[in-house]
Symmetry: C2
Subunit: 354 residues, 2 copies
């Protein structure tokens, strides 16, 4: 079942919309110039939404200057203090991340929910295994069950106020708990999910934890917007997020590329040509599948499934268009011949679309 | 339910054994020196098992020289020709990868099964979406169902000969089909699985497809041995395989490292110190969890779950041992102070083990 829909500025999240990529600025939010500069960088890297931490009043004030300069819709990340939330909404953010259960009285929650409803902006409830409520920890430990129960409580606070413009995240610093919590949540709730492995670590292992956790969930159809968390430059987080979408074929108009690992059966030097062809095909873009294969064991099968394929044979390469052999070539002119066929296919598909 | 067990030389696969990492040589198998040199390289990178393609009689003959020089158990990868399989077994390989349905008559399959049984070595049935049987393709298309049905056929060939020393792989060049096929197989069969995304592509996207596909399956408890396939150096495949195991906490005696992405709430320059601490902790090894956190929102929670944690506060770092604050330090002496606590924990755990 598709999740419900929320809007962060012009970006639609949930209900089967394209998966958006987000990250968080790592500058001091009170430093407007640095923060805006970082937002521009991550926007250029392909980010859809940016979140900024608002730890104090000065940071909330800075939003008044940051928001109008930002090329991306901004979400304010706030803990504990509902006044910062109210100020952030007033200063034009497109969404809040705040856990209603942490900001005190029902009156305070109500004030925040009313402000968001008035501005037409959603609230993300962001549950982290590292900051669960004490009584849930005592009852469940820091388990997926405790994480979902925590989300359920925060959701109840808002639903009781008839506020349902909600997005939820459930994150742990290990992949297994993160994935289990998000799966459990998806069984119980229809709210869209922001997914990511939190505090995944440095680029060294954090990237791989993020690839696996976010990837496994997206494969299940869970996750409406994604955030890779690394102790590193936020541009790297954005690029990693986009790589995940690309690897799963979730980026529109990005070619799919298949190439064999090569082995002792290799009939043609594809290790040299695969990266070259990949780059050339990516330059063109378009929704096509390209395969570069070294021998006749899996080559012909992959050629059948690809729009354009190269299959190494003894001393030459066969080039296939939609599974049919259309050219044989040596290394000379290989890339040119291959790309000519790619362009033909793209032109034909363009023609069909018109 | 645990899978059944097979042995590849001294490596046990299945039944809950540690997940082994394998790759394939990319040299011409007939070139003994080059092939042995490559096996040594991948062994040094942490590989557990190596596969070599045996496309012809000379390659099968070369095994007689390669096997005694190899630091790793060798699996011969053979297609279509049962005589190559018989020769490989005679030449001392520790396993075969061959699809019984592809090598002709029942007599031929029987000869191979008997040779393997005599040598006490298993057979891997390796189903690839790119080389499915024509009639299965017609009935199902190149779907997970067709892949599992193909495996079932090959298994039947061997089971009818009372040969059950079997391992199976089901691979496609896209993540979703690979994962779906392996899940479907695990529901129907108890044989151990060799998992991987085949022809995943170049390092550019192939790595990420492999991380996601292999990682998602391992998270489900599926997969007994893994192979990352890249159009690249096999050493990179081995390192990537090990990275996946590390990211999921499946490598023994490798510390788990948690560090926050930092944000506008950052109280301490952890981006500088997280990679340094990570490296120092890795040098020591050991089964501990270490967290490096920038602020008080998730810091204390992660500190509670970690054996040793650093949590940034205004201008200093709190160092926690098993959730208890044991030191406060500035940047000076930070790494030394942290590592002293790490060593204490390791020594205490070592003491408990003795």
């Amino acid at each position: 079942m598709p999740t419900s829909i929320v809007h962060i500025g012009s970006v639609t999240i949930g209900g089967g919309s394209p998966i958006s990529v987000q990250t968080m600025t790592k500058t001091d939010t009170r430093n407007v110039d640095e923060t805006v500069a970082q937002i521009r960088e991550i926007s250029a890297a392909g980010c859809d939404i940016v979140r900024v931490a608002v730890p104090d009043c000065k940071a909330a004030d800075a939003l008044a200057e940051i928001v109008p300069q930002s090329p991306l819709p901004i979400i304010a990340d706030i803990h504990f203090d509902h006044k910062l939330a109210l100020k952030a909404v007033k200063n034009g953010v497109c969404g809040l991340r705040i856990n209603p259960g942490n900001i005190g009285s029902r009156e305070r929650v109500k004030a925040v929910a009313e402000a968001c409803a008035g501005a037409g902006i959603p609230i993300r409830i962001g549950v982290n295994a590292g900051s669960l409520e004490k009584e849930l920890l005592e009852q469940y430990g820091a388990t997926p069950e405790a994480m979902v129960e925590s989300a359920a409580r925060h959701i109840r606070y808002l639903e009781e106020l008839n506020f349902t413009d909600i997005k939820v995240s459930l994150k742990a610093s290990d992949v297994a708990r993160t994935v289990a919590a998000c799966r459990l949540f998806a069984k119980r709730f229809g709210y869209p999910q922001h997914i990511g492995v939190t505090e995944a670590g440095t680029e060294h292992t954090g990237l791989i934890k993020s690839y696996i956790g976010i990837g496994a969930l997206l494969l299940d159809g869970i996750g409406d917007t994604i955030r890779v968390s690394l102790t590193a430059d936020p541009v790297k987080e954005v690029l990693a997020g986009r790589e995940i979408l690309r690897a799963l074929g979730l980026l529109p108009d990005v070619p799919k590329f298949v190439s064999c690992p090569t082995c002792g059966r290799l009939d043609f030097n594809i290790r040299k040509y695969a990266p070259i062809i990949e780059k050339e095909v990516e330059k063109l873009g378009g929704n096509i599948t390209v395969a570069v294969m070294g021998c006749a064991v899996n080559g012909p099968g992959e050629a059948k499934e690809a729009d354009v394929a190269l299959c190494g044979a003894r001393g030459y390469a066969g080039i296939y268009k939609k599974g049919k052999l259309v050219a044989k070539t040596g290394e000379e002119n290989l890339v040119e011949t291959f790309m000519k066929v790619v362009k033909e296919v793209l032109a034909e598909e363009e023609g069909e679309r018109i």
